[in-house]
């Protein structure tokens, strides 16, 4: 899967959980889920669960702790896909 394709897929997931005061166009690779996109910890879990389904991977607690930004999420997805 191309990086761009992965990024779009991830963005589609994030979009669902954005609060009303944050627009899809506000998402970029450096966005911090909680600080920039105002996503709370409960919705971050939903994002992780959707990412697991979308990419057919499984994240662990450590991955969750490391997943602070969109870039972090991309790196984790890459690593998990490489393990497969």
């Amino acid at each position: 899967m191309l990086n761009e394709e992965k990024y779009q897929k991830l963005k589609e997931i994030i979009k669902i959980y954005l609060p009303e005061d944050v627009a899809v166009t506000d998402i970029d690779q450096d966005s911090h889920f909680m600080n920039n996109l105002n996503i709370n910890s409960a919705n971050l879990v939903d994002i992780v669960l959707d990412v697991e389904d979308a990419f057919d991977i499984r994240l662990e607690n450590d991955d969750m702790d490391q997943m602070q930004t969109v870039n972090d999420a991309m790196a984790i997805i890459d690593a998990k896909l490489a393990e497969k």
Binding site: A42, D46, L49, N61
Partner: protein, 149 residues
């Protein structure tokens, strides 16, 4: 004799007038069932509604959450952790209300685990009255975990 769930009751971070669990009928890895009787003396009946006491939907939701999420969460966590610094918070609730619950009624909450991952617990809950009629149902989620020092 029924298995004792006192250890779960003792871990509940609520007390009167905001404890809405009397008894746990069963709890396992997949769900929980518990019951509560709404005391006719509860303060909220004085105002909801004027001269026509009916249990508020938010209180029914709270009862569903205390039994369906918190009791289950404590059970799931308590099997492997010491629960000294329990942190909890409801994160979402989507409820439908079908029948009124009047002062003094006893209700039973049945909750089925949807998932418990990364400290987020999500359940499908149903509340029944003494005639086994569905009172309300919905999906509740919350964060529950042991807070690190």
């Amino acid at each position: 004799m029924k298995e004792s769930y006192n250890w779960i009751m003792n871990q509940l971070p609520y007390t009167a007038p905001f404890l809405f669990v009397d008894e746990i009928q069963y709890v396992n890895d997949k769900g929980v069932e518990g019951s509560y009787r709404f005391s006719p003396d509860a303060d909220f009946y004085k105002g909801h509604f004027k001269n026509n006491p009916v249990t508020p939907g938010v209180i029914l939701t709270e009862c569903c959450a205390q039994i369906g999420l918190v009791c289950l969460g404590i059970y799931l966590l308590g099997q492997k952790t010491a629960l000294e610094n329990l942190g909890i918070g409801m994160s979402s609730s989507e409820m439908e209300f079908l029948l009124p619950v009047f002062p003094g009624e006893r209700v039973t909450v049945v909750s089925e685990l949807a998932y418990f991952r990364f400290q987020k617990l999500k359940c499908e809950v149903k509340m029944y009255n003494k005639d086994d009629k569905l009172v309300c149902k919905g999906v509740l989620a919350g964060m529950i975990g042991v807070v690190n020092e």
